[in-house]
């Protein structure tokens, strides 16, 4: 094996940084003086860059579902034991009659009928009326001791900063609950919360304020799982102009191919289902135009295939001229 052949077998390892110091030194020296091996190294770099392009990033919704299932399985298999508790919890317990709590991570989301909203309750509910339980020392929340000093009676005085949690319960149609849910659906810090909230709101999409929130999520949420959930909720309202407009936007600009596929299905639902309906009268010209525009820009083979299939069913060209 001559030097060029030897070096070329080492290029992959060189890029992975897995050659020994001496091997790397020898390869570098050779490549510096050999144009062909420099080209081979460049090709190897391109190949590595190409590998990166086929890496699949799991959908946020898949991760969320996986976490939920794991929580459920662990909770079912082994009921959580009491948390090991810190000195502050013990102090608080000694002052109140709170029963010992179970592990926070294993607390599952509340049932639909009882909406439990933690930090949001404190952050966003200005005045929610007497049905909301008040905060007590026993309420869990983020706490920080700012200062501690002896009090005159021999005790201690502690100044505590805390983010308060409150539990808000009510029916889905309660205005206060509705306000919280509409805000939670846009909470930028927690995609899991938005996903759950949008799922709950889907049951009330007949209300225009809820529908507007779902459309907002469909158009603006950075998480594809949340966008997909919002699209599910809008499914029964697909004939409404504002929903069709949002779906058209998804079709042409959503970065996720799964979303674009779903948008095609919704905008063209019913087309081709009946053998007598192959003339395209059920599909308005705007949608045909959007699909044709999509064909001009779509790179994903699966989405193209779905779009082409619909255009074929309505005897429309796949191109615009």
């Amino acid at each position: 094996m001559n030097m060029c052949e030897k070096v070329r077998t080492q290029l992959g390892m060189l890029l992975y940084g897995e050659l020994s110091f001496d091997e790397e030194e020898a390869v570098d020296r050779h490549v510096e003086g050999c144009a062909e091996c420099r080209t081979a190294l460049e090709q190897q770099r391109q190949l590595h860059a190409a590998f990166d392009q086929v890496e699949v990033e799991p959908l946020a919704s898949l991760l969320w579902e996986s976490r939920q299932k794991l929580q459920q399985q662990i909770a079912a298999e082994h009921p959580p034991v009491a948390l090991r508790r810190g000195w502050w919890d013990q102090l608080v317990d000694s002052l109140t009659l709170r029963p010992t709590g179970n592990g926070g991570w294993l607390k599952t989301a509340g049932a639909l009928a009882l909406l439990t909203i933690g930090f949001l309750g404190a952050r966003m509910a200005p005045n929610l009326g007497p049905q909301i339980s008040g905060m007590s020392l026993a309420d869990p929340g983020a706490q920080r001791v700012r200062s501690v000093e002896p009090a005159a009676n021999g005790g201690i005085q502690i100044v505590l900063d805390e983010t308060r949690q409150r539990v808000v319960s009510g029916q889905l149609d309660d205005q206060n609950i509705r306000v919280l849910l509409l805000s939670a659906a846009k909470d930028p810090s927690d995609p899991g919360l938005r996903y759950e909230t949008v799922g709950i709101l889907n049951d009330r999409a007949q209300a225009s304020e809820v529908r507007d929130t779902l459309i907002y999520a469909l158009e603006h949420d950075e998480n594809a799982g949340v966008r997909l959930k919002a699209m599910d909720g809008l499914r029964p309202f697909v004939t409404q102009p504002e929903v069709r407009k949002a779906l058209t936007g998804v079709l042409l600009s959503d970065g996720n191919p799964g979303m674009r596929t779903q948008a095609i299905d919704l905008l063209t639902q019913g087309v081709g289902e009946s053998t007598n309906d192959l003339t395209g009268h059920a599909l308005d010209r705007d949608v045909i135009g959007t699909l044709q525009e999509l064909m001009n820009r779509e790179n994903n083979a699966y989405v193209r295939q779905r779009g082409q299939r619909v255009l074929q069913l309505v005897n429309a060209s796949a191109e615009t001229y």
Binding site: T9, G12, M13, Y16, E18, Q43, Q44, Q46, L47, H48, A50, F51, Q53, V54, E55, V56, E57, P58, L59, A60, L62, L63, E65, S66, R67, K69, L70, Q73, I74, E77, H78, P80, V81, A82, L83, R84, N102, G103, G104, W105, L106, A224, G255, N256, P257, G258, T261, N299, N300, A301, Y302, V303, R304, Q305, Q308, R309
Partner: protein, 197 residues
């Protein structure tokens, strides 16, 4: 270096707390690793359902056996040993059964059904949208033709960014054996994809 040592100390404290029954600590451990576990399984198995199965089984095993973890190796190595074994089992069964590939036949030829599941990569490289479907299919075909162990080592080195020494430890082999495996994998890939670059 001091920061890494701090992170390791934090992790050790979390593990000890979880071993004593602190569910929040266990939850934090899961969240520290679960996205990369799911990504590894999804890339190796090319099936969201199978990837989710591996995720569940791996973390359930961690949960059940955490008390037997004695810090003989890093938690990462221990967890990945579990995950890679589960993935290898899936991949071997699939090879034996010659199960379905991730591709389905479409009007324009084969279509990767993962296209309908995957999230765009976070770096959002605009080149991606221009990426040739042919090259993409070529890479996937070349990957599927690697042996199960070559595929695993390649995945851990290229996509997970693990060093060969850690890969060897995770897979219960030597660094040298992992290096040979990676070498064979990259040579095969280069031959299979030579026409594209």
């Amino acid at each position: 270096m001091a920061q890494t040592a701090g992170i390791q100390a934090d992790e050790k404290a979390l593990i000890r707390a979880a071993q004593e029954g602190d569910q929040d600590a266990f939850g934090q451990l899961v969240r520290a690793y679960d996205k990369s576990v799911l990504r590894l399984a999804l890339n190796l198995l090319r099936s969201p359902e199978d990837a989710q199965d591996v995720y569940q089984e791996a973390f359930l095993r961690v949960y059940r056996n955490l008390n037997s973890f004695r810090f003989d190796c890093s938690f990462h190595t221990w967890l990945y040993r579990i995950v890679t074994n589960l993935c290898l089992d899936h991949m071997r069964k699939r090879k034996v059964r010659r199960e379905e590939s991730s591709q389905v036949e479409g009007l324009d030829g084969p279509v990767d059904r993962m296209d309908t599941f995957q999230e765009l990569r976070a770096d959002g490289d605009p080149q991606r949208s221009m990426f040739s479907g042919e090259l993409r299919r070529g890479i996937q075909k070349a990957l599927s033709e690697l042996t199960v162990r070559e595929r695993m080592v390649f995945e851990l080195r290229h996509y997970q960014g693990m060093k060969l020494r850690d890969i060897g430890e995770t897979l219960g082999t030597t660094e040298e054996a992992a290096k040979n495996c990676l070498f064979r994998a990259t040579q095969k890939m280069r031959v299979a994809l030579g026409d594209f670059v």
